[in-house]
């Protein structure tokens, strides 16, 4: 049984290549506050006129994965239809005291922390049901975090196509070059999901990578 699973895992990408779907299920992953929901909202607003969910400065605002089906992106004659999954931020620790620093009362901070732990588990579970991943990193932060290393390792182990989104390039201390240097084996697209900077390059990369 283990052998069959290993073979399926190793050669699954070949099967996927031969039997390509007309719709790809793409997960938006990343650490908390990287701008995942802001990006999901930007994509939906640009291509469907809708939004995915609320955003906030308090980490772990998204604590349940959200799925939006049938988002069609067309760039330079290439088109791709995506089912987009906006996942909760991945973390190895969740301390409710951190939320209290943002002014949340203790009860609410504890509830948020509990929901956040459930959200992390949900995000990890989704990895097994995806056809590709948009990994959002904050360009102003050190990219060599354990969460980024673990996500990239899991995507590589599953042979899923990956596009790294270097977000928040509108901020003065942003350094997308640092992300490129950290993960040279994967394509990196610098953008600002909030301001829409370089967003056309991202759509072009999505159409090329996931079509």
């Amino acid at each position: 049984m283990g052998l069959i699973l290993r073979i399926k895992k190793k050669f699954g990408f070949l099967l996927k290549w031969f039997f390509r779907k007309d719709r790809m299920k793409i997960g938006i992953y990343g650490p908390p506050n990287a701008g995942k929901t802001t990006l999901a909202n930007r994509i939906l607003r640009d291509w469907t006129g809708d939004v995915m969910g609320a955003v906030s400065d308090i980490p772990h605002e998204t604590r349940r994965a959200r799925l939006r089906e049938g988002v069609r992106i067309e760039v330079d004659g290439k088109s791709v239809t995506l089912d987009i999954v906006d996942t909760p931020g991945l973390a190895t620790k969740i301390d409710f005291h951190e939320f209290m620093k943002y002014g949340l009362p203790e009860d609410e901070a504890k509830r948020r922390a509990k929901e956040a732990t459930e959200g992390v588990i949900e995000a990890i579970k989704w990895l097994d049901d995806l056809d590709g991943v948009l990994l959002v990193m904050d360009s102003t932060e050190d990219p060599f975090t354990q969460v980024n290393v673990t996500i990239v390792g899991n995507i590589e182990a599953r042979n899923l196509p990956l596009l790294i989104v270097a977000n928040k390039i509108d901020l003065p201390n942003a350094s997308p070059a640092r992300i490129k240097a950290a993960f040279p084996q994967h394509p990196v697209v610098p953008i600002s999901a909030l301001k829409g900077l370089n967003i056309d390059s991202l759509y072009k990369a999505i159409a090329e990578r996931f079509s």
């Binding site: 190793k10 050669f11 991945l90 973390a91 190895t92 620790k93 969740i94 301390d95 409710f96 504890k110 922390a113 509990k114 732990t117 459930e118 992390v120 588990i121 990890i124 990895l127 050190d142 060599f144 975090t145 354990q146 290393v149 673990t150 990239v152 390792g153 899991n154 590589e156 182990a157 042979n159 950290a182 993960f183 084996q185």
Partner: protein
């Protein structure tokens, strides 16, 4: 003598353990305030499973999670991906309130271990 206990687990020992056995051992030790150093680390799937189980064990009072330090996987090339097994690299795991990452680079990790609770 007061201090923080470090458990250095050899590759030989890790090779003999099943994935869940490794993860359980790590979590039990870390929840007891110890730092675990794995000579050959964990596979990416094991790292994800460790995060998943950590989330289940966070009690928001005594245990708020873990800090994990490891290097990115080395690129394995086409044939390495087809026929090779992903190899973990040296990994340090500790309680989030005791182990803090100061700086992490491709080939150097600097961390701080606190004696008391952070």
């Amino acid at each position: 003598m007061e201090g923080v206990q470090l458990n250095l687990v050899s590759k030989d020992r890790l090779d003999k353990m099943a994935s869940m056995e490794k993860i359980r051992m790590i979590l039990d030790e870390v929840k007891n305030g110890k730092i675990v150093v794995l000579e050959s680390g964990l596979t990416p799937e094991e790292e994800a499973k460790l995060i998943e189980l950590t989330m289940l064990e966070i009690d928001h009072e005594n245990f708020v999670g873990i800090e994990v330090e490891s290097y990115p996987q080395k690129s394995r090339g086409f044939f390495g991906k087809l026929f090779g097994k992903p190899k973990g690299r040296l990994t340090v795991i500790g309680p989030a309130n005791r182990l803090k990452t100061l700086q992490k680079r491709e080939d150097l990790i600097t961390a701080l271990v606190q004696f008391g609770e952070g």
